[in-house]
């Protein structure tokens, strides 16, 4: 009798849990599991969206890795972005976070000003930077020229397009600033006082008190930065389109990567292969490469318990 009520109680509680989770259970199946399996399926198919899919073995895979001229340049670009853009963002974000904790007058105003660019919608911010950095008449080159400094071609020059994107990314540092600021304010005051009593220099205090305390947050910023760099899409695509002058919502075709493939990233390849070349099979191969990379770093984030993304209690 009592075991029966226990069982029915347990069943009720399982039903209740399922009811609460139901929106997501549907969302997970229809908008995650199904398309993921489907992507794997299409990666082995020749499919253009019109004719029925045909088995293509590893054909799409070998095409992407050895014949598709955009794949390796986009991986090289991503590596560059990880090494330079992510590093600049983390260092600058940490610097601004430190600065804001030292500012004693007008802290609120400074914090708001530092944070605002992060809010600028990516397309709007990118358009603004293409204008600011336009080689001929843009304000930045105007000022650089007046100072007698070199005036690079920025978004119109393959060697300067990624530094220009980095400037744009560093401008929107607000998210990192807030995270670093919170971490810095959490460092126990006594540790600084004790270190100060010992006559340490401010660099030593940073190196031996601040850094060990905030290192999990620095690691979090680096790993999420890497994930963002791999997914980098809107800014490089819009910058390339606008700087090249080839725009038009549905009319003209724009081959992403302008100038000279220097702004290509993996997600742009999915768009190029799938929606411009109608080679859905090859697009799915690139999608799976992107998926694998994203999941490796996400797994890393989740495994670092107690500091990064908490999955425990």
């Amino acid at each position: 009798m009592s075991s029966n009520t226990l069982r029915s109680k347990r069943r009720r509680s399982a039903l209740r849990t399922a009811a609460f989770l139901s929106p997501w259970l549907i969302g997970f199946s229809v908008f995650f599991a199904y398309p993921l399996v489907s992507t794997v399926y299409f990666s082995f198919m020749k499919y253009d969206g019109f004719n029925a899919p045909v088995w293509n073995g590893l054909g799409n895979w070998s095409y992407v890795f050895s014949d598709y001229p955009m794949f390796w340049p986009s991986l090289r670009n991503t590596l560059w972005l990880v090494l330079v853009m992510v590093a600049c963002r983390v260092l600058f974000g940490l610097g601004v976070g430190l600065l804001i904790t030292k500012i004693k007058t007008g802290t609120g105003v400074f914090r708001t000003l530092f944070y605002l660019p992060y809010l600028a919608p990516p397309v709007a911010a990118t358009l603004a930077f293409v204008f600011l950095l336009n080689p001929g008449t843009g304000p930045v080159n105007t000022i650089l020229g007046d100072l007698g400094l070199p005036t690079p071609g920025w978004f119109n020059d393959a060697t300067w397009s990624k530094p220009a994107l980095t400037a744009l990314a560093v401008w929107g540092i607000g998210d990192l600033m807030v995270i670093f600021m919170a971490a810095l304010l959490d460092v126990p005051k006594e540790q600084y006082e004790a270190a100060e009593l010992d006559g340490t220099s401010s660099w030593q205090r940073f190196r031996f008190v601040t850094l060990p305390n905030i290192s999990p947050i620095v690691l979090f910023a680096v790993v999420t930065g890497v994930i963002q760099a791999m997914q980098y899409y809107t800014q490089p695509l819009v910058a390339g389109k606008v700087a090249s002058g080839v725009i038009g919502g549905s009319g003209q075709q724009f081959e992403p990567g302008y100038p000279d493939k220097s702004t290509l990233t993996l997600p742009q390849l999915v768009y190029n292969l799938g929606f411009q070349r109608f080679d859905y099979g090859a697009a799915c191969v690139v999608a799976l490469v992107l998926f694998a990379l994203a999941m490796v770093f996400t797994a890393f984030l989740m495994r670092r318990r107690g500091g990064l993304i908490g999955t425990g209690d």
Partner: protein
């Protein structure tokens, strides 16, 4: 590390109270430090603010002057903003963006609340796994599943050329919203829930009457994020709406604006200002909720 520092011999640098020369030096040092820090603050602020300033100044230049190297306008052409509004489509983009961002946010918050609650407060087998799957969904670049998703919406439902393929999924829980809300709900002590249950509330009523009122700041933060996400989204409208200009959003249309006015940097910059302004206005009214949300994203206490 710290222990090592503590053991190291050193001289105390604490200024003694009073007007000793040592105290004066310390005061002067503090003043210099204040000046240095705030000068650096102003310089950094310039880096963040100047792009906005140049953007705005160009937006009120005349057509001819916007093509020159001039930094400040000779005459202030406020009419540029009216011209932007007169551009065919601009008001439609506004309407579409509000629909996508408004309805999308409403649906995703409503559908995510029960899921986040269950993940934060129920004990059940597979909870850990569910949470890991939510995080994986959150980290999934949208491009990974776009081919099957596009075929799904275009071929099964004939919805390409509309924003519905972006809005409908929001009714089935958004991973980012679920994760953030769950982090927030963890901070509500179980005692409140137990008290409600003792009073005879079912789980649903507990959620409605006890948890939701306490979770308002968290809900405000996720709603803001979701709204901004939709407002800023470029990839979604590019895939589903590009073929039909009547379904374009601001973020997508703005880019074509430069195409239609290819030499008119002044009008393009005025349109850019008009796309940025609402987001920044919302931020000023909801600053606290926003900053709370940013801290929630990564760092758990």
């Amino acid at each position: 590390m710290t222990q090592q520092l503590l053991d190291a011999p050193g001289r105390p640098v604490r200024p003694t109270e009073g007007r000793t020369p040592a105290a004066r030096t310390a005061r002067r040092k503090a003043a210099l430090h204040w000046i240095a820090v705030h000068a650096l603050g102003v310089a950094t602020a310039l880096f963040f603010v100047l792009p906005f300033v140049f953007l705005f100044l160009t937006s009120v230049m005349s057509d001819q002057q916007a093509l020159t190297r001039d930094l400040t306008p000779n005459s202030w052409e406020w009419g540029n903003y009216a011209k932007v509004f007169d551009t065919p489509g601009f008001l439609t983009w506004w309407k579409n963006t509000l629909l996508y961002a408004g309805l999308g946010t409403l649906l995703s918050v409503l559908s995510s609340i029960p899921v986040a609650y269950a993940l934060a407060k129920f004990r059940f087998r597979g909870r850990q796994l569910s949470l890991m799957l939510v995080i994986s969904m959150m980290m999934l670049p949208p491009q990974v599943i776009i081919i099957p998703m596009y075929l799904f919406w275009a071929k099964q439902f004939d919805l390409s050329g509309t924003l519905w393929p972006l809005i409908i999924p929001m009714a089935f829980g958004d991973a980012f919203t679920i994760f953030l809300l769950r982090q927030f709900l963890l901070t509500i002590p179980d005692e409140y829930l137990d008290a409600a249950r003792v009073d005879g509330c079912g789980e649903f009523r507990t959620l409605l009457r006890v948890v939701l009122p306490m979770a308002k700041p968290g809900i405000a933060a996720v709603a803001l994020f979701q709204f901004f996400y939709a407002w800023n989204d470029y990839f979604g409208p590019q895939i589903y709406a590009s073929e039909n200009p009547a379904a374009w959003t601001l973020s997508y249309g703005l880019e074509s604006f430069k195409g239609a006015h290819h030499t008119d940097w002044n009008l393009t910059m005025a349109a850019t200002v008009l796309v940025m302004a609402p987001v920044i206005l919302v931020f000023f009214f909801a600053q606290k909720a926003f900053v709370e949300g940013v801290t929630l994203t990564g760092v758990k206490g």
